[in-house]
Amino acid sequence: MIRARTLTDARQQAHSNSELNWWLFMRVSGLILVFLILGHMYMTFLQVSEMDATFDAVVNKLSSPAWKLYDFLILSLGLLHGANGLRYVLEDHIRSRPNRAWLKMLMYTIIGLLFLYGTVGLLAI
C-alpha cells in the first residue's frame, strides 16, 4: 500500500492518460502534417506563385471533393495540433492559474470559431 503524504501526491496518483494521448496525437498529427503541409506549400507557393490563388482558382480547386478533404485535414489537424501546442506554451509560461485559465478559454474559443468558419467555407463551395 502506498500512502500519499501530501495533497499533491494524492492528486498525482489519480490516474489519467490525457497527457499521454495528447503527446501521441502531436507526433501522429505531426507526421501526417509533414505530407499535407509541405505538399500544400509545394503546390501553392513553390510551383506557382501564391498570387495565383485568386477567387476563381480557389473556388475551382475546392469544388473537387478530394481537395476538400485535403484542406479539411490541414484545417482540423493543423488547428488541433497548433491549439495543443499553444496549450503547452501557455501552461509553461503563464504562472498564474486564473490568467492561464481565461487565456486558454479565449484561445480555444477563437480556434474553435475559426474551425467552424473554415469548415463552413469548405462546405459552402
Binding site: R27, G30, L31, L33, V34, I37, L38, M41, F45, L46, Q47, S49, E50, M51, A53, T54, F55, V58, V59, L75, G78, L79, G82, A83, G85, L86, V89, I110, I111, L114, Y117, G118, V120, G121, A124, I125
Partner: protein
C-alpha cells in the same frame, strides 16, 4: 524566467521549434480567415488577397515557409528521439541535418520566388 544567456546547446532547437510552431499557428489562423472569406464573395476575398501581393508580405511568406520547413524537419527529429534511443544519441547531428535541410529549402524557395517578386507576378 527564461535564461537567454545560458550556454547549453540543446535549448536552441527547443526555442526555435516553439517559436516556429507559434508563428505557423498565427499564420494558419490568418490563412484560414483569408481563404475562408470566399464565403463572403469575390470582392471581399480579393481585397484580402491583394495583401498577399505586397512585396513585404511575400518576403515574410518566404520566412514563414522556412519556419514551416524547420518545424516539420525538427518535428521529425523529435519523433526520432522519442521512439529510438539512437535518436537521442545523435541529437546534435540530426539537428545539423535539420538546419541543412531547412537552408536547402530556403534556397529553393528563394530561387523560385525572388524572380516572381521582382517580376511582380
Amino acid at each position: 524566467m527564461f535564461n537567454w544567456k545560458y550556454k547549453g546547446s540543446g535549448q536552441w532547437p527547443f526555442i526555435l521549434h516553439r517559436a516556429s510552431g507559434l508563428a505557423i499557428l498565427l499564420y494558419l489562423m490568418l490563412h484560414i480567415f483569408s481563404i475562408g472569406s470566399i464565403i463572403f464573395g469575390e470582392k471581399f476575398y480579393m481585397d484580402i488577397h491583394r495583401v498577399y501581393g505586397l512585396p513585404l508580405f511575400r518576403i515574410g511568406l518566404i520566412g514563414l515557409a522556412t519556419l514551416v520547413a524547420f518545424h516539420a524537419f525538427n518535428g521529425l527529429r523529435i519523433i526520432l528521439m522519442d521512439f529510438t534511443s539512437f535518436g537521442v544519441r545523435v541529437q546534435k547531428q540530426t539537428f545539423m541535418a535539420v538546419i541543412v535541410l531547412t537552408l536547402a529549402f530556403l534556397a529553393y524557395t528563394l530561387y523560385m520566388n525572388i524572380p516572381r517578386i521582382l517580376g511582380g507576378y
